[in-house]
C-alpha cells in the first residue's frame, strides 16, 4: 500500500513524517513522536482517553488517521502546561483529587481545555453532560466536576 508524506504541527513543533494511511493519529503520536501522554483505551471511539485537540477542537485521536491531519495543528497533554508549572486545569485536578490511576486524565484534560468557554456558562448537570464522552473508572466523576468548576471560577487549587 502507498505511504504519504505529512507535515503536522504538534504542540507548536512541526514534524515531517511518512505514514501508511492506516496509521491512527493516536499511534502516530505515541509510536512515531513518542508523545505517550495520549493514552489509548478502547481504540474504537468510546472511552475518550485518547482525546487531543485538532485545530483547537477536542477530537478522539483513535478515530482519525494521521494522514488526515496533514497540515493541521495538534495539541496533546504534553503541550498543556508551559514550563514546569502545572496548567491551572491540571492544578485543579490535583487539588480536587480528580484522578486516581490517571489513565483517563489526559483525555479529560484535553477535552475540558477545548471547551472551557462553554463549560464556564454551565451548571453541574450540563458539565456532566459535556464530559460524558470521557469515561473514568476510578473517581466517580465528583472530583473531575469540581476541578472544572474551580478552573472556570479561577480558583487556585493547592490541595485540600
Amino acid at each position: 500500500m502507498t505511504t504519504h508524506d505529512i507535515t503536522v504541527e504538534v504542540n507548536g513543533v512541526a514534524y515531517d513524517r511518512t505514514v501508511p494511511p492506516r496509521l491512527l493519529l493516536s499511534d502516530f503520536l505515541r509510536h512515531e513522536l513518542h508523545l505517550t501522554g495520549t493514552h489509548v483505551g478502547c481504540e474504537h471511539g468510546v472511552c475518550g482517553a485518547c482525546t487531543v485537540q485538532l485545530d483547537g477542537d477536542g477530537v478522539r485521536s483513535c478515530l482519525l488517521f494521521a494522514v488526515q491531519v496533514d497540515g493541521c495543528a495538534i495539541k496533546t497533554v504534553e503541550g498543556l502546561a508551559s514550563g514546569p508549572e502545572l496548567h491551572p486545569l491540571q492544578a485543579a485536578f490535583s487539588g480536587a483529587h480528580a484522578l486516581q490511576c490517571g489513565f483517563c486524565t489526559p483525555g479529560f484534560l484535553m477535552a475540558i481545555d477545548s471547551m472551557l468557554d462553554e463549560l464556564s456558562a454551565m451548571n453541574e448537570a450540563e458539565i456532566r453532560e459535556a464530559l460524558s464522552g470521557n469515561i473514568c473508572r476510578c473517581t466517580g466523576y465528583q472530583g473531575i466536576v469540581e476541578a472544572v468548576q474551580a478552573t472556570v471560577a479561577g480558583d487556585k487549587h493547592d490541595g485540600r
Binding site: 499511534d27 474504537h44 478515530l63
Partner: protein, 283 residues
C-alpha cells in the same frame, strides 16, 4: 483494533472525488470517519481505497434559502450545532445534534456522513426523514436529488448508488409557532438509543396543530416516520391518544439490550413525551 491496510486519496474537487471513487470497486467515501473508522477497527469493513472528502471544495456550508436550509455534506456536526442560522431555521436539527455521540465525536462527525451512513438508531437520518427533507448527490451521470422517504432502504443502506457522493442535505425551514422535541431512551447518555422520537409540530393562531412531523429511531432497520400518529395529531388527538398509534406497522428486533415488545412500548412512551414537549414549546 487496528484498521486493515487501504489506499488513501484526498481530492480537492467533487469531480476528482467521483473519479477516485469510480477507479476502484472497493472504494469507500471517508467523511468524518466517526462511524467508518470503528467499523474498520473491528474489521467489519475492508475498503481497498478511502476517498477523503475533507479537502473537497464547496462541501462545507450552511445556506439559508428562505423556505429551505441546505447544509453541505462535510459540515461538521459541531459547527451546525452552534450555528445561529440552523438554530433559527431548523431548531429540531440543533436539538438532535446534541444527542449525537459526544462533543469530541461531533467535532469530526459530519452532517452528510451521518445521513449517508443511515444507522437506524441515528438522529440525523431521522431528522431528514421526519421533516420530509432530501439529499443532493453527484455521480458520473450527473446530479440528482433523493427524497428522504426514498433514501433509506434498510440497515446502513441507502439509494445512493456506488460511485455517487452525497453533497448536501436539505430540510424545510421551520415556520412560526413551531415546537420541537427529541426524546430518547438509552442505557447511557450518548449511546445509541434503544428507541427515540423526533418531533416537530406547528400551530395556527388558534393553537390547532397544522403541521406534524414524527420519526422514530431504533425500532426497525431504518428510521421510521410515524404517519398514523401525525394524522391523529392533525385530526385533533391528544399526545396520549395519538402516541398509542406509534407501534403501528413496526416490528423491531429483539437483542440483548431490549426485546421487541419493550421497544414497541418505548415507541409509545417516547412519542407521547416528544409530542407533549413539542406542543408545549410551540404554545
Amino acid at each position: 483494533m487496528k484498521p486493515p491496510d487501504f489506499d488513501y486519496v484526498a481530492p480537492t474537487s467533487v469531480d476528482d472525488a467521483i473519479k477516485a471513487l469510480g477507479s476502484d470497486a472497493e472504494a469507500k467515501v471517508l467523511a468524518g470517519g466517526q462511524s467508518l473508522i470503528p467499523l474498520l477497527a473491528f474489521r467489519l469493513a475492508g475498503p481497498s481505497l478511502l476517498v477523503d472528502l475533507a479537502r473537497v471544495d464547496g462541501l462545507d456550508h450552511i445556506t439559508d434559502e428562505g423556505d429551505r436550509l441546505v447544509i453541505g455534506a462535510m459540515t461538521r456536526q459541531r459547527r451546525a450545532e452552534r450555528d445561529p442560522v440552523v438554530a433559527e431555521r431548523c431548531p429540531l436539527l440543533v436539538e438532535s445534534l446534541r444527542h449525537v455521540g459526544h462533543p469530541q465525536i461531533r467535532s469530526r462527525g459530519t452532517i452528510g456522513g451521518s445521513v449517508a451512513h443511515a444507522d437506524p438508531a441515528a438522529e440525523l437520518p431521522a431528522v431528514v426523514l421526519a421533516l420530509g427533507g432530501r439529499v443532493h448527490v453527484t455521480g458520473h451521470s450527473g446530479d440528482r436529488t433523493i427524497e428522504a422517504e426514498d433514501l433509506f432502504q434498510g440497515f446502513l443502506s441507502t439509494s445512493i448508488e456506488d460511485g455517487e457522493i452525497l453533497t448536501a442535505v436539505e430540510v424545510p425551514a421551520s415556520g412560526p409557532r413551531t415546537g420541537w422535541s427529541v426524546v430518547e431512551i438509552a442505557r447511557r447518555p450518548g449511546d445509541y438509543a434503544l428507541c427515540g422520537a423526533l418531533c416537530q409540530l406547528q400551530l395556527d393562531d388558534a393553537g390547532a396543530v397544522v403541521d406534524a412531523h414524527l420519526a422514530l429511531i431504533g425500532v426497525g432497520d431504518r428510521p421510521m416516520r410515524a404517519h398514523a400518529v401525525e394524522a391523529a395529531v392533525l385530526g385533533g388527538a391528544s399526545p396520549v391518544e395519538a402516541a398509542t398509534l406509534a407501534p403501528d406497522g413496526l416490528s423491531p428486533g429483539s437483542d440483548v439490550h431490549a426485546s421487541s415488545d419493550y421497544r414497541l412500548h418505548l415507541a409509545t412512551v417516547t412519542s407521547r413525551r416528544a409530542l407533549t414537549q413539542a406542543l408545549e414549546s410551540a404554545a
